[in-house]
Every structure is written in C-alpha cells, then in structure tokens.
Amino acid sequence: MKFGVIRFPGSCDEVDAQLACQRVGEAVILWHGDRDLQGVDAVVVPGGFSYGDYLRVGAIARFAPVMEEVARFARAGGIVLGICNGFQVLCEAGLLPGALLPNTSLKFIFRQVQLEVVSAASPFTGACAAGDRLSIPVKHTTGRFYAPADQLDALEANDQVLLRYAAGHNPNGSLRDIAGVCNEARNVFGLMPHPEHAVDPFTGPTGGLPIFESIRAHVAEHALV
C-alpha cells in the first residue's frame, strides 16, 4: 500500500512518520502547496509546528491547498491519520470533533505514556484488542482534548474514542483521558501521542507499530473487495 505524509512549512515529524509507514508499506511526502495526493491509499498529517503554531495550533495549516484535497479524500472514505499537530489540524478543519487546548501544566511535555485501546473496531486499531496497552511517547504543549459534555457523551456512545491515556498517564488534562478519536465514519483518526516514535525496538518501545499495521491490514482487505 502507499501512504502520503504531508509536509507543511514547520512540520517536524514528517520524515519520522514516513519511516514508520515504510515499515508496513510505501510512503511518499506530499507538499502542502500541491493539490495532487499521488493516488495514496492513506494520508498522514504529521506532527510538528506547522506555521510555527502561530495564532492557534493548526489554525493556519488547515487552509493549505493540500488540505482541500485531504478533506475531499476523507469525505470519500479515504483513510486519514492525524498525529499531534496533525490531530490539531484535522480538528481545526472540522474533519474531527473537539479541539486541543494548552496542557494544564502550561508546559511542553515529553513523556513515554501508557495508552489503552478502547475500541479495536477501526482501520487504525484493528490489529489490537480492546484493553491492549500501548507504550507511546507524547510531546506537546497543546494536547488537552476538549469537547462539550454532550459531544463527549456522543463520542463515547458511537465508540469514536479509540485510545485513552491509561489511569495515571494523562499528561495534559484531556477530558475523560481521551488520547485519540475518530470521526463518525471511522475513516479519520487523530491522536496526540506519536506512534511514529514507537516503531523501532532499537530506539525504544514499539507500541506505535500496531497502528500502522492496522492501517495496512485494513487497506489490503478493502483492496480485495
């Protein structure tokens, strides 16, 4: 399969994401100014500080030409994964519910956290089982997931919360320990932790690998039908 990883001015983790994707498939970099998604099977909106995070995280990046295509791709059911800043961009773009607010500590935090898989019923967690623990690092200043209470209830009712911070591991004050959510159609997923930084036994734990494997498996399946 073929992943496309977007590069905005100020993206930092796009090469890391590309390396992670390449463990399970092919991966190309997509330039923010281009409208051509090069026929990829899945799009990754990577971490970093697109446009310096100025004004409001993700606020400016969402208007990049490539994002119009990503929105169209998503509406057509295409697989879109947003990591950290990518999650923020997808929320700002209205492709995912909620918003990300400054950590309650008001500080940047890097920490290896334990995540709990809440739902395996998605293209992003299919290779896991509900209840699995994944060790993945977080690194952000603005990662506190927020949505109004009724929306949170709806997210949980629809099984859209795919990952939570395990008890005692919530690094940023996210409501209901939410670490990652998908849209109603379940083809767009955003999370604050960085799975691409947890794929190589050589540099640390590998809790991020199942996410990329899930995507590969899902795409393979649907290629058959």
């Binding site: 100025y54 930084h197 050589f202």
Partner: protein, 726 residues
C-alpha cells in the same frame, strides 16, 4: 562620508567600548577619523566577543590536529569524520548575558544561533545539548525564574524546529546568582561533499542576504554587552531584546540544505554577533577578497534604519551567501519555495576592502584587515592568589551539620540540587524527533544517536560536562577532569572520542586571579586533550561574567563527540538482572575536596583535587569501552558527583533494583575523582579479572556495614530534589 570631529569621536568611541589607544590604532591605520558607520562597525569587530582580544593567544595552546578532523576551529563549526562518507559538525556557544536580561528569548535565540552555526557548514542539525548554571535554587527566587524561563526558551526553539535535545547539565552555585550561564551545543550531520566554508570567492560573484527582515534588534547588543560586566547601571547597556522565530529558522534551514544539495552556493555564512558587519568581513577575510554592500537594498522590518544600524543589527534567522551571477535566480527560486526572502545586496571584488554604500553615499570604506586582524591582542597578567589573599569565593551555606549517618548523607546528596534527577527539566525537551535517539537522557551517561535507519552503520555519542566548583578549587585539574568525565561518559556507551568543543565561561580577564584561572584551565584542557588524543575542533569564550560581588566560578564547559561501532550494543547505566556481578573499574583515589558533600557541609572552595593519572584513566576508559562493545555488560556508569555511593544509587534507581556491595578498603563512600573510574554490572563470567565488589538484587542498596537504604527511598530523594522548583 560624514566624518566626526576628533572630540565627538573620542567621546563616542568610549561609549562604544573602545579604549583611547585602540581608537588611536584605528585612526593611524586609516590615516583619518572613521565615519560614524565605520566606528560602529569597528567597535563591534574590536570587542572581546568578536576579536577574542584577551583569549586568542591562550587558545593557541589547545591541540587542534587529529586524524578525524575535517574542519577545525575558525569555521562556523568544527567537523569530524565518522566514516560512511559522513561528517559530524558540532559547536557549543554561550548566550549568558542575553539570557540574564530576558531568559526565555535569550536562551531561545542562543539555540537558534548555534543551530545556524551548524547548518552554515552544510550539516543538518541532529541534536542539541544545554549546559546551564544558576544561583542556589532553594535560596533564590530569581534563579528559579531564570531556570524556568531559560529551559522553556530552549525547549521552545529546539522542539519547534524539530531538533532533539538529547542531553545537558545543570549546576546551582551562588557564584552564578547574578551571572547565570546558558550554553547550548548543537551537532549536525553532513555528507562530506555538502560541507562548505565561509570564505567568499570569485570577483564578480553576488552576495545574497536571505532569511528574516532586518530590524533594530540588539543594536550594539551582544558584542558590547558581552564585553562588559553586568551590574548596576546595566539598564543603559540593555539591547532591544531579540525575539527568536524557530518557524522562520526551520524554513531557513531546509532552504540552506536544498541550496547546498543543488550545489548553488560558493560560500555560506550565518549572521550572529555584529550582524552583517562581522559575517561580511569574515567572509571577505577568509577569501582574501573585497565586498561592496549596498545597505539600502537590505529588506527592513521597520523604516528608517541608518546604515550603521543595518550593518550591526543582530536580527535573528538570517544568512549570507556568495553566488555566481548566473545562479542568483535559481537561488531566489529555492528560497521562495521555502517562503524565505532572498535579496542580492552586494558583490565580491578583489579590492580587499569592505565598502558599505547607502544609495549613492559611501557610508564605510575599510580595509578588511583592520576589521578582522588588526585589533590588538592583549597578554593576560595571571597571578595565583596567595595563601594570605582573601578567598575568592565565600564558602557555601552548610545544609548538613556533619555527624549524619552514611544513609542520611546519601539521601541528602541524591536530593541535592546538583545531583537530583533532571527529569523535570529534560521532560520539557523533545529527545526523539528525527528517529535517531538510541539513548535518551537518563538511559545512559551519554546520548547515542544513530547515523541512519541502517543498524549496521556506526553511531555517535555525545556528552557535555563542566563542574565550575571543582575548577574553582583547582583550575588545572578541575578543567582536565571535565575532559576526562566527558570521555568517561562516552566510554559508558561504548564510544571512543573523535573531538571536542568547549565554552570558556569566566570572569573579568583583566583581573590577575581570573587570568590565572583562565590560563590554568586552558592548560588543563590542553593536557587532557593530548593525553586522550582528542582534538579541539571549536568552541566559544564568554568573559566578564562578573558582578559587583565577584566573578563566577571558572566554568569551562566541555562537549565531546565520539563514535561507537555497534549501536545495538550501546551501554546503559541501569542495573538490570538479579545476581549480576558488580565491578569497579579504574584506579580510584577520590578526595573530599571540591565534592558535593564538601559543599553540603559548607566547606571552603579549596583544592587540591586528587591527582589525575592520565595513563590509568585512559586504560580504564578503554577497558569499559571494550567490554561494552563486546556486549558482555548489562550496565556501565562513571563515578562522578557524590562519589561511588551516589553512582551505585543511580544504577539502582535507574533499574528499580537493589545491590549489595563491599567497597575495597579505604574507598570513601562520597569522595570524588570524576572521569577515572566506573561501576559496571554483568554476568559473573563477563567480569572475571575485574574488581568485583558485589551483586545486583533485592529492594535496597547495601554498602558493607555502612549503609542500607530502600530503593524507593533513594528514588524519592533523587526525584524530589529539583521538582519543587521547576
């Protein structure tokens, strides 16, 4: 040219930090009075910060030759060969005074500056380390504020630009109360063919300025400031604070690397202290050419800057390059792709002069030599303080009464600001971006970075160290120890040194005792480098770190880079497996002088430090390195601050497992002799022939009959030392 009358000029040259005799040299050299613009340019180029007038002669004593050296001191960063056609560029630099004025922006722009030095030689920055000094954290509100903001600023810049901060060090001593130190080190990676020098060349070629707009940032700032003591009446000297823009620098970085990969540049140089003036004149001097600059072409952030302001502005995130005329359009196109403004502002010629034009006006016309080479170099007047002289530094406040049990002492040491866990600090830094980080902070004594996804490639290791209190006690041995401790840290992960960089942070060199500290420290570093066969490939000097209350501790900060053949075997410091044997490697005759315990007991700042047997230490390093590379060990940790007891405790805490040991007779638990000896653990068989002192296992650290403390208690003490203040 507007010429100042001698009277005005003399008044002005003093304000600009030039002595009367220096000014006379200028007038004699030019055979006329300098114009205002020329005077501004010369005063900065002749400042301590740019001209190294009190340190240049001394620095010649440092060995700079080595078989791995690709670029030595003099370029924006030193470069060593790591094999595989790759070079590692690295340099450490201080941003002490700006950080004392505005810690967040000062520290942030310090990181921005050292990153530019590294990509200016064509290397992609792959790691940052920071070396910080503040006053006593428990006693000083201001030091807590400086720590908080400086760390936030370093994180802000490094995290945002996507370069991992993989290590560093922090010490708290009252001598830094009014002069904090913020040193930042950066490493970069480049294929040999992408390495580029700053020398301008090719009359007719075009000088292109690219990056941020030019504003009134740090006018007469860093340079003048860095040459004067901070203290009362400091307000006047405050530059307009420079704001760092990591987003602009990220684009600038990618832009520079693309320009170099497409082979579009003749030479490249960053703009730092003294802005365009120093960058342009250095480029011209290195290339033996002349430059014409039309400062009216320099794109401005605000209207109405005068030529002298444009020439000395220290606006951040700017670079200067020399381009062949027919490639200028291609260069501008690449810059546009990276949303980076590029403007031709001048041309190369063979006049050997730097001419500054402003529209039709000639604002400055100086021989490059007078800017770069003619500043007088001063001889230091070192004098060792005699026994009868008043102590240079007051003794630290005692926090231990003496008479504590060894267990109480160990717990106190682990919780002390200089030894406690740095986690609250390094958790504010991203250590993993770029997917190279094989050993993160607290995994091991040195950070380990892979050179690429292919695990058969060698890896590099880096460590930064410099204990100012020990240097204050005994400048020569203290400085040598810092070099040995870096090498020891590298040995712990299995790396052999390739080269080092250093930042000499000292007080006022015109004072005999400070001059003595400086000379002794440099001798110590030079000797250690020769003994360890590690060349000095770059560095930085920060003098006049002195307040009315006196000088800072003499603080040479050493950053060392090494190579390890097999990253999959990189060492760790944590004890791991019950039943493993624990051995002490290295001749070890530690002393109490200069130790953390001496400090906690309020003992005077006094030496001598224990003698340093270079041959023995080198052999210990080699033994540990070989054992780590053979994959035989489970852990290796050097014995540094807090002595053998603290080293053992750190190994236990990191592994969450206890140990039971018997120390060789006569080894003091807490005495120190950094850089000479190690605690290692591994299967019995791996350690035959070594001095085995005990076993890994249990819930507590037990040292003979002297102490027994639960790991949980040690962990609580170590993690609680800094946390309340960050």
């Amino acid at each position: 040219m507007a010429h100042a009358t001698p009277a005005q000029a003399t008044a002005r040259h003093r304000e600009l930090g030039l002595t009367d005799s220096e000014y006379r040299l200028i007038v004699d050299g030019l055979r006329r009075e300098p114009s205002d613009t020329e005077l501004a340019m010369l005063s900065l180029m002749w400042s301590e910060h740019c001209a190294y007038k009190h340190s240049k002669k001394l620095l010649r004593r440092l060995p700079t030759e080595g078989r791995h050296v690709l670029m030595g001191p003099g370029e924006n960063a030193g470069v060593v060969d790591v094999g595989g056609g790759l070079g590692v560029a690295f340099k450490v630099e201080s941003h002490n005074h700006p950080s004392a004025v505005e810690p967040f922006q000062g520290a942030a722009t310090g990181v921005g500056g050292i990153l530019r030095d590294v990509f200016a030689v064509g290397a992609r920055p792959i790691a940052v380390l920071d070396s910080l000094r503040f006053g006593e954290i428990a006693e000083s509100e201001r030091s807590r504020y400086l720590l908080d903001r400086a760390v936030a600023g370093i994180g802000h810049y490094g995290n945002s630009i996507g370069v991992p901060t993989v290590g560093g060090e922090i010490y708290f001593e009252s001598s830094y109360e009014q002069n904090c130190l913020v040193n930042a080190m950066c490493l970069g990676l480049a294929p040999h063919e992408r390495l580029i020098r700053a020398a301008a060349a090719g009359p007719g070629n075009v000088l292109v300025l690219f990056g941020a707009l030019t504003g009134r940032d740090g006018i007469g700032g860093a340079s003048v400031l860095a040459s004067a003591e901070l203290g009362d009446g400091d307000e006047a000297k405050r530059p307009s604070v420079q704001i760092g823009d990591p987003f602009a620098e990220k684009k600038l970085l990618e832009c520079c690397l693309e320009l170099l990969d497409s082979d579009l540049l003749v030479s490249l140089q960053d703009l730092g202290a003294a802005g365009l003036t120093s960058s342009a004149s250095e480029m011209a001097a290195k290339g033996g050419v002349g430059l014409d600059i039309d400062c009216s072409r320099v794109p401005l952030r605000e209207a109405g800057l005068e030529p002298f302001e444009i020439m000395v502005s220290e606006s951040q995130e700017r670079m200067l390059c020399v381009v062949e005329p027919d490639r200028v359009d291609a260069v501008i196109a690449v810059c546009e792709r990276w949303e980076t403004l590029a403007t031709p502002i001048g041309t190369v010629n063979d006049s050997g002069r730097l001419r500054v034009l402003s529209g039709g006006e000639v604002a400055a016309d100086l021989p490059v030599g007078i800017l770069v080479d003619d500043c007088p170099l001063y001889d230091l007047q070192p004098a060792e303080p005699g026994p009868t002289d008043a102590a240079l530094y007051p003794p630290p406040t005692a926090v231990l009464r003496g008479g504590e049990s060894p267990a109480e002492t160990l717990v106190a040491l682990l919780g002390s600001a200089n030894i406690a866990s740095r986690r609250p600090v390094f958790e504010q830094y991203d250590p993993v971006v770029q997917s190279r980080t094989v050993r993160r902070p607290d995994d091991a004594d040195a950070a380990v970075l892979s050179l690429g996804p292919d695990p058969t490639l060698p890896a590099i290791a880096v460590s930064i160290d410099g204990n100012g209190r020990r240097v204050a006690c005994d400048p020569r041995r203290g400085a040598a120890e810092a070099v040995y401790e870096c090498a020891a840290n590298l040995a712990c992960v299995g790396a052999a040194p390739l080269g080092l960089t250093n930042c000499l942070n000292f007080g006022n060199p015109e004072k005999p005792h400070v001059a003595w500290q400086l000379v002794e420290a440099v001798e110590g570093i030079a000797t250690a480098c020769r003994e360890l066969d590690v060349p000095v490939v770059g560095g930085n000097v920060s003098l006049y770190n002195e307040a009315p209350t006196g000088p800072i501790f003499p603080t040479p900060v050493i950053g060392m880079v090494g190579r390890l053949p097999d990253p999959t075997r990189a060492g760790r410091l944590a004890f791991e497996t019950d039943g493993d044997a624990i051995a002490i490697i290295g001749g070890f005759a530690p002393a109490r002088a200069g130790s953390e315990l001496a400090k906690l007991c309020g003992e005077a700042i006094a030496g001598p430090l224990p003698a340093l047997d270079g041959a023995a230490a080198r052999e210990a390093h080699a033994t540990v390195r070989a054992l780590v590379n053979s994959g035989a060990l489970r852990s290796a940790h050097d014995i540094a601050e807090g002595g053998v007891a603290v080293a053992l405790a750190e190994c236990c805490i990191a592994g969450g497992v206890g140990a039971t040991v018997e120390l060789p007779a006569g080894v003091d638990l807490f005495a120190e002799a950094p850089g000479r000896a190690f605690i290692v653990s591994g299967p019995e068989a791996a350690l035959t022939g070594q001095t085995v002192i005990g076993r890994v296992g249990g819930e507590a650290l037990a040292i003979g009959s002297e102490l027994r403390v639960a790991i949980a208690e040690l962990e609580a003490a170590r993690s609680g030392g800094l946390a309340p203040f960050v």
